[in-house]
């Protein structure tokens, strides 16, 4: 065991290495755009250079003259297919080639297809548009921005939560703050570029594209192309980073499919990193106003959180993180309101913990400010406000180990050695600051199907249409089968990322491990039941034993008394070569439609705040040390410690890796990441990794992840809480808190940069 493979504690699984680790580090993992495809033609996108108006004229002559050019798909060519739909599987309702209206910067205006990638790129660059341009609205303060209430605008955000009489409580509070925060536009920028490869075999369409939602895409793409979903197959065996960006399908997919149909040969289009800023989704900028009132004893009597989020003109994308922030602590009263601000921008989309990242940043920064106002230690302040039930629906938490997380992280970090006085800690020319914040992420789960086959040779084949987006879901699904069937992991093959497999929900909302493992568990238990029946049947090797007394280990069925039978022999007596089970898992509280909706690519999510019995969240606490140079004010993060509790940990190695990645991202959100929008033109300016900064190795020094044991049987049969999106929640607030401690400057607008600390 080492740092990367933490020793499992109670209710934690073995740190097995990833089953696909070797493939990945030796370059043998084939990502969708690497999958060998014969006779391929290459597509390159041409995109708009204005954000609002109409394409008056498109000059294609120069592009057509490029040697090797095969086709240009543009206005008119998509008329026979349906426009995209905005929703779970669709990134936007804008059908860029369905009409000449430009809704945002970087909108697709044509796809050039050629014999080579270079020719396609050259042709795409030579496509010249003439526009009837109008002045666009860039963001919050721009003329023309329209503000509307968010509640009810999205199925994911039904209402503004509230409890008690905030106004009265705030008025009477002994200590109060009223503060505003903001977070910037951010783009995912996974290392794997976005791509679509499409080809037709007769009337069957096959699409290779990195996807977090192969089933949803199959159905949505079939709808757009007006064909039977059974004729569409989405293949996405490996995904080189997703973070939500590959959850909803973008309009490009159908355009490339149409190009492939016109040409009668495969077409591959890999978008450039610059083009991804306009053709994919992103995390929109947000603003927040938080008011907190408390008694002198530190008990919060009043909490109000107002949020504003940018979205596109046609689509109401809402994150609405107030449903989590409104339930975080034992507030006496709660008032929340979320607004959408419509601008001439592409439609935003999911990015790792979409609601919590911005909203909890604001809440936790405010908690730190409140602790200062109360003259109280920030950890103590949270302890005092630890709730028994959540304040909105007064439901219990299915489990909540926040204080354990704080205690363990504080201990490991050495919080006791912090001098609470602002600016009191120094190391030569460096000001030292220490801060902390809470991480929270709702624990959801969705229906999922899986097929598991155990053969007489002792091999297991596991199939599930989930997605390996880097989280290690292949490994943990295999591990679940390994544990339940008593078969070592190297005898298990796991197939994922293909819409022809049993359907799984979109890999979003940190539901995959819980949903997939619950389905695998069900399939494995069905296999166990058959094996036990065979073993205990009259004349069977364990005849007379009861199922409860049996277990599976090392290829054997073992009875309590010590008697055992080889699985192979049991199968032989049963006269079968393999047992295969197809299991469909539906969470508690699922509607009668739940499984039908899974197959239709619209899985129901359960858990989080929605269940009747309890609210379900995973929690964590993060502690950060910053150093800020006395003269030049650059900010460095030498240390970060996070402790997290998330029910059963399937695999401590992959869990740690997710949380570590999240914390690193959190540091990036605190200090680096921002897409700059040129407010005159509503256009993105820093559209590449030169100027869109994320942390590099040198920025991350001592990083510690603590996995706090927690048992929760209420969340799902696997007992697993998703943690893929937990690690980056709260980090930015912890950094802001540390910056304040070092300098006395409260930075409320992310990212925190040198210029904010110079004055």
């Amino acid at each position: 065991m080492d740092t990367a493979a933490p020793r499992p504690k109670e209710n934690q699984g073995q740190p097995l290495p990833r089953v696909d680790a070797r493939l990945k580090v030796t370059g043998q993992a084939h990502y969708p755009a690497d999958l060998p495809t014969a006779n391929i033609a290459y597509g390159a996108l041409a995109t708009s250079s204005i954000a609002k108006g109409k394409v008056a004229k498109l000059n294609l002559d120069d592009a057509r003259a490029v040697p090797g050019l095969l086709d240009i798909v543009t206005y008119g060519d998509m008329d026979t297919v349906e426009k995209p739909k905005f929703g779970n599987s669709g990134a936007t309702s804008i059908g860029p080639l369905h009409d000449r209206t430009i809704f945002h910067d970087g909108q697709i205006i044509a796809l050039a297809v050629a014999e080579t990638f270079e020719a396609a790129e050259e042709a795409a660059q030579l496509i010249r548009a003439e526009y009837d341009a109008e002045t666009p609205t860039a963001s919050f303060d721009s003329p023309g921005a329209a503000t509307i209430p968010a509640a009810g605008k999205s199925p994911l955000f039904k209402e503004d939560v509230k409890a008690g009489d905030f106004d009265a409580a705030y008025r009477e509070a002994a200590v109060k703050i009223d503060v505003r925060y903001s977070t910037p536009t951010q783009h995912h920028n996974p290392i794997e570029l976005f791509s679509t490869t499409a080809f037709w075999e007769g009337d069957q369409l096959i699409v290779h594209e990195p996807s977090q939602n192969v089933t949803g895409w199959k159905v949505e793409l079939a709808r757009q192309l007006k064909i039977d979903p059974a004729k569409v197959r989405i293949v996405s065996p490996f995904i080189g980073g997703a973070f939500g960006s590959k959850g909803p399908m973008t309009p490009r997919t159908a355009i490339v499919a149409v190009a492939a149909r016109r040409l009668g040969r495969p077409v591959r289009c890999v978008t450039s990193r610059m083009q991804a800023f306009g053709t994919q989704t992103y995390r929109a900028e947000t603003r927040h106003r938080i008011r907190i009132g408390a008694g002198k004893d530190g008990r919060i009597t009043a909490f109000a959180h107002e949020g504003w989020e940018v979205t596109s003109r046609p689509d109401s994308y809402v994150v609405g993180g107030t449903s989590a922030t409104g339930r975080m602590y034992a507030y006496g009263s709660v008032l929340t309101h979320v607004s959408l601000v419509q601008a001439d921008r592409n439609t935003p989309g999911y990015m790792r913990s979409p609601p919590e990242t911005p909203y909890v940043y604001a809440l936790e920064n405010a908690m730190d400010e409140m602790a200062v106002a109360l003259g109280m230690d920030p950890v103590e302040f949270r302890r005092i406000n630890e709730p028994k039930t959540e304040p909105i629906g007064k439901k219990p938490f299915s489990s909540r180990s926040l204080i354990q997380c704080y205690d363990q992280a504080a201990e490991a970090f050495g919080w006791a050695k912090r001098d609470p006085k602002v600016g009191a800690m120094r190391d030569g020319d460096w000001l030292v600051g220490m801060g902390c914040a809470t991480a929270i992420y709702p624990t959801a789960v969705a229906p999922c199907a899986a097929r598991v086959r155990l053969t007489v040779d002792g091999d297991v084949r596991l199939q599930c249409g989930s997605h390996e987006i880097g989280t290690g879901v292949r490994t943990v699904a295999g591990q679940m089968a390994s544990e339940r069937l008593g078969v070592s992991i190297d005898r298990i093959s796991v197939e994922m990322g293909d819409s022809s497999l049993p359907p799984a929900p979109v890999s979003g909302g940190s539901i995959s491990t819980a949903s997939v493992c619950s389905a695998v568990l069900k399939a494995c238990d069905a296999i166990r039941a058959k094996l036990y029946a065979g073993a205990t049947a009259e004349g069977g090797p364990l005849a007379g034993s009861h199922n409860e007394e049996l277990d599976l280990a090392d290829g054997k069925i073992v009875a309590k008394g010590g008697a055992s039978a080889k699985v192979e022999d049991v199968l032989k007596t049963m006269q079968v070569g393999a047992i295969e089970e197809y299991a469909e898992f539906a969470p508690k509280g699922a509607t009668p439609e739940a499984l039908k909706k899974l197959y239709a690519g619209m899985p129901e999510f359960h858990g989080g705040e929605q269940d009747e019995d309890s609210v379900k969240y995973a929690f964590g606490a993060e502690f950060v040390e910053v150093r800020i140079n006395r003269y030049t004010r650059e900010i460095r993060v030498p240390r970060i410690v996070g402790a997290f509790a998330a029910g059963r940990i399937m695999n401590t190695r992959t869990a740690r890796s997710q949380l570590m990645g999240g914390m690193i991202w959190g540091i990036g959100q605190a200090l680096h990441e921002a897409t700059e929008v040129d407010s005159r033109y509503a256009r993105y300016v820093n559209r590449d990794l030169q100027d869109y900064l994320v942390p590099v190795n040198a920025d991350i020094k001592d990083l510690q992840v603590i996995l706090v044991p927690e048992v929760d049987h209420a969340v799902n049969p696997a007992g697993v809480k998703g943690l893929g999106e937990l690690g980056n929640v709260g980090t930015a607030a912890a950094v802001a808190s540390a910056v304040y401690h070092a300098t006395g400057k409260r930075i409320r607008d992310l990212p925190i940069r040198i210029e904010q600390l110079l004055a």
Binding site: Y631, T632, E634, H672, E676, Q690, D691, V696, D699, A759
Partner: protein
């Protein structure tokens, strides 16, 4: 990217001959039909983006002259061959000891992979990273003369506060050139009109009303070497680079400082600033302010004020004036305190 002809001459005169055949005297090296390529880390990038559109490339990497790939350190100074890779120079033991400002400036630049590809001459000649220059749909006077400057009223956090004009405020983003200026380096160039020496401080041109003219070089001139004299202030020198992240980022502000001290008294000071100016910026006024003075926080502060006296801020880059001053103060004090 457009198709282009790719040539690999083996001697300098052949390379010059190809360049002069396809260019005229008025052609700017960065806009000419034929351009030299060394590591390609800057030029190939801009060709892919459609910013540079030569239809012929002359690859310098096959040139036979061994001097092009050598670092020679003698009592008179250093001679860098133009094709020496940044990584090699950054790791050079004698440079680290005798000319720390040079080694620092290279070590703190780009990434390990890029330093292994990129040549020293290419580094000195690297073009701006102005976001509006890099993407061809914006108006940019440097890319398309007379088309306007989108950065002037746009997002200009990275842009220069020194040496700008109404036409262009693009920052010179390199690091190495500042170190070279601080040590009075010269470049050697060969073209169809013969060989010549150009002081590094005179190589780059401020934008004025012709931002498309970036250097003093002719389109058929090849830099063959960079020479650094053994000046008394070389040993006590350093390069301080302040940036948004710890590594792999361009400077928001940087200072190359070289001092010849008598106790704490300044006999000679050389200061060049990066990240804040349109060209590698020699801060003469700051040097003069320090001449003969005791170097302390007060005199360093006065020098920094002098260095930025003519600075012109824009909407997002005004902080660079304060940051640039503090960077210089810190660099001066750290250089003073160096053990040499």
């Amino acid at each position: 990217m457009r198709p282009f002809v790719y040539e690999q001459p083996t001697d300098i005169s052949a390379a010059v001959a190809i360049a002069s055949r396809f260019t005229t005297e008025d052609d700017q090296p960065t806009r000419a039909n034929v351009q030299f390529i060394a590591g390609g880390t800057n030029l190939a990038d801009y060709m892919k983006l459609g910013v540079a559109e030569p239809n012929r490339l002359v690859d310098l990497n096959r040139l036979k002259d061994p001097g092009l790939r050598q670092i020679r350190v003698t009592d008179d100074g250093i001679r860098f061959g133009a094709l020496v890779r940044m990584g090699e120079a950054a790791d050079h033991a004698e440079l680290k000891r005798g000319y720390p400002v040079i080694a620092d400036s290279l070590r703190l630049a780009a990434s390990g992979q890029i330093r292994n590809m990129a040549s020293l001459a290419g580094n000195v000649l690297q073009r701006t990273r102005c976001e509006y220059f890099r993407e061809t749909s914006w108006h940019c006077n440097k890319r398309v003369p007379g088309s306007g400057c989108a950065a002037m009223e746009g997002f200009n956090r990275q842009h220069a506060v020194l040496g700008g004009s109404d036409a262009c405020i693009a920052t010179y983003h390199g690091d190495f050139a500042q170190a070279l200026i601080a040590l009075d380096a010269v470049v050697r160039a060969e073209g169809s009109r013969g060989a010549r020496k150009i002081p590094l401080a005179k190589l780059h041109r401020q934008p004025r009303d012709t931002p498309e003219i970036e250097t003093d070089l002719a389109a058929d001139e090849i830099i063959t070497a960079i020479e650094v004299p053994a000046v008394p202030w070389a040993r006590r020198s350093l390069y301080l680079k302040i940036r948004d992240r710890e590594s792999y980022a361009f400077a928001l502000a940087s200072a190359a400082v070289a001092l010849d001290l008598d106790g704490d008294n300044v006999r000679e000071a050389r200061i060049a600033l990066g990240g804040v100016a349109t060209v590698p910026w020699r801060a003469k006024a700051a040097e003069e302010a320090l001449q003969g003075k005791t170097l302390d926080e007060v005199s360093a502060g006065a020098a920094a004020d002098a260095a930025f006296a003519g600075a012109e801020p824009r909407q997002h880059n005004a902080f660079k004036i304060e940051l640039g001053k503090r960077t210089l103060v810190r660099a001066l004090l750290e250089t003073r305190d160096m053990k040499v």
